[in-house]
């Protein structure tokens, strides 16, 4: 049976020029099989842990240099409108480019994830032309790093209960409050802020969205230590922080629409961690092979389950993206990706732990063993982040299946 699809000319030409660029700018990543057990770092983490600040700075600089090079070569913002600095291509070009790029060694770009996955699209959707022209190119070029200022100590799953206050004063808004779980705030130049602008209105109707300069006076970022010992995220204290009136995103008091759209994208970003899951399953595979239990049918069935879930996660998120009408923002069905992702992670963690036994929780010094403990400790955080698994289930049930909301007490 012959393959059904002939390669499409436009995409082929594009990929040829992309390959030329990548060949000139990076080294090819060797096949994973070539990475030998016992060589190199054996970290199996999921979150950046914030090591030495100087190391972090170096990594950020390398990432920024790479992003700028990629952007200047025309590959930094493939789907963006050309008048704003993008290449004006359809999403499948982005998908194809990322797949190609995965075969090359490039700096870790995860610190741009929030800016590019959530903040920039929100500016594009809800910002004025001035704001779009001011920020989108810089965000996509990696000149600016962004964070998301949503959650608060009293407003986690119930985000609408947020209390950070923004008060209009002439042509600025003055912001006071506290944000929490802010990933990457310590590296960020700008933040997407949700604040209460009408305390008299019902919770969701009194919120506005803003872009905030993270370097402005009154912004105080403090690291939050997580159970793994590292600190991926922060508390952000806001004391009389000023943001210009034209940095309002969407309608005044209409910030909840921005929130919903951003959260859907967050699940898109979180759920779109297909590449991360592939790496995890790769590492798990090598652990199985070196455990001496690779022929045990019980181990084989559990490995196959992890492998299958990894593929299903990629396919399901790809399907949801492909079935979305072009130009429409991600909807509630994207939330499913978060569940397929966390479910796969849990099973990988469980299998790794069962294979390692006590070596999971006490360091023998052997390569590729104790490093799984960080992974095991990180998975609970992933299940909570980007909307807890339970919130996600409720979103799917209500907005995809049409089940009724719980009545308000």
């Amino acid at each position: 049976m012959s393959p059904e699809y002939a390669p499409e000319t436009g995409l082929t030409t594009f990929l040829d020029s992309a390959r030329d660029f990548l060949d000139s700018a990076a080294d090819v990543r060797g096949p994973v099989e070539q990475q030998h057990w016992g060589e190199g770092p054996d970290r199996v983490g999921l979150l950046p842990e914030r090591p030495d600040p100087a190391e972090e700075r170096t990594a950020l600089d390398a990432a920024k240099t790479w992003k700028a090079t990629e952007f200047d070569a025309g590959f930094g913002w493939l789907t963006g409108p050309t008048e704003l600095g993008g290449a004006g291509l359809e999403p499948r070009f982005e998908v194809a480019y990322r797949k190609l790029r995965a075969g090359y060694r490039i700096p870790d770009l995860s610190m741009f994830g929030i800016g590019l996955g959530m903040v920039a699209p929100s500016i594009q959707q809800f910002g004025t032309d001035t704001m779009r022209r001011k920020y989108l190119r810089s965000l996509h070029r990696g000149d600016l790093v962004a964070c998301q200022l949503f959650s608060e100590p009293a407003a986690g799953s119930d985000l609408a209960a947020l209390r950070t206050r923004a008060v209009r004063n002439g042509d600025v808004w003055i912001v006071n409050g506290q944000k929490v779980w802010t990933t990457g705030a310590h590296l960020s130049d700008v933040g997407l802020l949700l604040a209460r602008t009408d305390p008299a209105a019902p919770a969701r109707r009194g919120i506005s969205a803003f872009l905030l300069d993270m370097r402005a006076p009154g912004v105080d970022v403090r690291p939050l230590r997580q159970i793994t010992g590292g600190a991926s995220f922060n508390e952000v204290f806001l004391t009389d922080v000023r943001t210009p009136a034209d940095h309002l995103l969407g309608e005044e008091h209409g910030g909840w629409a921005v929130a919903r759209s951003t959260l859907a994208r967050e699940r898109d970003v979180a759920g779109n961690s297909g590449a991360d899951l592939e790496t995890t399953v790769d590492q798990l595979t090598r652990l199985v092979q070196h455990s001496g239990r690779a022929q045990d049918p019980a181990v084989r069935t559990r490995w196959a389950d992890c492998y299958a879930r990894m593929l299903i996660h990629s396919w399901t998120t790809a399907r949801a993206a492909a079935e979305r009408a072009p130009g429409t923002p991600p909807g509630p069905e994207m939330a499913m990706g978060k569940l397929t992702w966390t479910d796969a992670l849990r099973r990988c963690s469980a299998l790794a732990g069962d294979l390692l036994g006590p070596a999971l929780t006490a360091d023998t010094g052997d390569w590729g063993t104790y490093s799984w403990s960080e992974f095991a400790l990180t998975v609970p955080g992933i299940r909570i982040s980007a909307g807890t698994d339970e919130i996600i289930r409720t979103v799917l049930a209500e907005r995809v299946l049409g089940l009724p909301r719980e009545p308000n007490p």
């Binding site: 049976m1 012959s2 393959p3 059904e4 699809y5 595979t285 199985v288 092979q289 690779a294 049918p297 084989r300 069935t301 490995w303 196959a304 389950d305 492998y307 299958a308 879930r309 593929l311 299903i312 396919w315 399901t316 790809a318 399907r319 492909a322 079935e323 499913m336 569940l339 397929t340 479910d343 339970e390 996600i392 289930r393 409720t394 799917l396 049930a397 209500e398 995809v400 299946l401 049409g402 089940l403 009724p404 909301r405 719980e406 009545p407």
Partner: protein
């Protein structure tokens, strides 16, 4: 890899839904369970007439350019409706053998038989499993055979769990021979062949016990049939997974529909988180299975190098998901879901049988690991 339906595939799905909706005399699955009606050859012939077998023939053999993806769309709709028709044995198992054989042997008896099956809608099944019902790797068979001059053979053995065994007009028998595995054809009414229906949990999936006592047979694949049989099992497995997808999808819809109607404690039961989360888990299961079926069907149609891995993956997921979703769907219905009169158990019965028809979930997971090279 394209995981979305084409417009033609959507149209095919719509045609199938119309066909199902137009079936006479109401609930055929229930009638089957109550012992009133089982397989109606007219329903099968009508399905063949509207073209469900057209995608079976590869383009190289005069087919319409469709493939396993189109057959999977049909299978899912049949699974939704719990129709009692031999689509799986014909388009999955038998066609799987015949297509692989015709392609390898470039014509010959397999190609001629394939055309006959597709053109006339001959109800053909495959007699494979022995009494212990175990799918093995390497393949084992219920029957053995010896040559009886030219392309004639004599078959002996006892096969169980043969889908549509008593209803089939033609039986394909994978057999062990002195020269290795072969596949032979036996007429349904052949002397020496005794066919008895087995009582089944799912009345829409009849199964038979077949005893072959020196039964005359002709060659379909005379030698080296292993690779052909493996390919056939993969095709059939993906179509079975597609049927399970349809069954699970429909069961989930019924459960969600019930949760939106039934009130307790002064509110709809679907407004409680516990019920919502059960439904959300059903949704994730169904959509995961949908992805797996589409990926496997695509891979087989594209002759992709990883098609065997994906075929095992689809079956592993289907065997688990269909059973879990139909079970959860019954559970959401509460007490009424446990009554004979309610349809929930019809889906559960189908799913329970399907989960083991071509191997259970763990069997497929081990094969997945083997095929992925672990």
């Amino acid at each position: 890899m394209d995981l979305t339906l084409t417009d033609e595939q959507r149209d095919l799905r719509a045609v199938m839904r119309e066909f199902v909706a137009a079936q006479p005399a109401g609930d055929l699955a229930r009638q089957a369970l109550d012992g009133q009606a089982r397989y109606d050859p007219a329903t099968w012939r009508e399905l063949v007439r509207i073209g469900v077998l057209d995608p079976v023939l590869p383009e190289g053999l005069g087919g319409d350019g469709g493939g396993l993806r189109e057959l999977a769309v049909v299978a899912a709709e049949l699974g939704r409706a719990l129709l009692c028709v031999p689509f799986l044995p014909v388009a999955g198992l038998a066609a799987g053998v015949l297509i692989a054989a015709a392609e390898r042997d470039q014509g010959g008896p397999a190609e001629e038989m394939l055309r006959r099956v597709v053109a006339d809608g001959v109800a053909v099944t495959v007699a494979w499993l022995p009494r212990d019902g175990r799918w093995e790797e390497p393949l084992t068979f219920a029957c053995r055979a010896r040559r009886d001059g030219g392309e004639s053979w004599v078959v002996t053995g006892e096969a169980m769990f043969v889908p549509f065994g008593t209803e089939a007009e033609l039986v394909l028998a994978p057999v062990a021979t002195p020269d290795g595995p072969a596949v032979l054809a036996v007429e349904g009414e052949a002397p020496g062949l005794v066919r008895e229906p087995m009582p089944t949990v799912d009345a829409t999936r009849p199964q038979a016990r077949m005893t072959f006592a020196d039964v005359a047979a002709t060659t379909v694949v005379g030698a080296d049939a292993t690779a052909i049989l493996e390919a056939a099992l993969d095709r059939a497995g993906v179509l079975l997974a597609a049927e399970q997808l349809g069954t699970a999808e429909r069961a989930m819809e019924m459960a969600v529909g019930y949760a939106r109607l039934r009130e307790q404690f002064g509110r709809l039961i679907g407004s409680f988180q516990a019920v919502k989360h059960l439904c959300a888990d059903m949704l994730v299961g169904v959509e995961s299975l949908r992805s797996a079926v589409r990926a496997a069907a695509w891979a087989i149609d594209a002759a992709a190098p990883d098609r065997a891995v994906l075929a095992s993956l689809a079956q592993a997921v289907a065997s688990q998901v269909a059973a879990e979703v139909t079970d959860a769907a019954l559970h959401v219905h509460g007490g009424i879901g446990f009554t004979w009169e309610h349809d929930a158990h019809l889906y559960l019965r189908r799913a329970l049988g399907d989960a083991v028809l071509l191997g259970n979930a763990d069997y497929h997971r081990v094969r997945l690991a083997d095929r992925a090279g672990l």
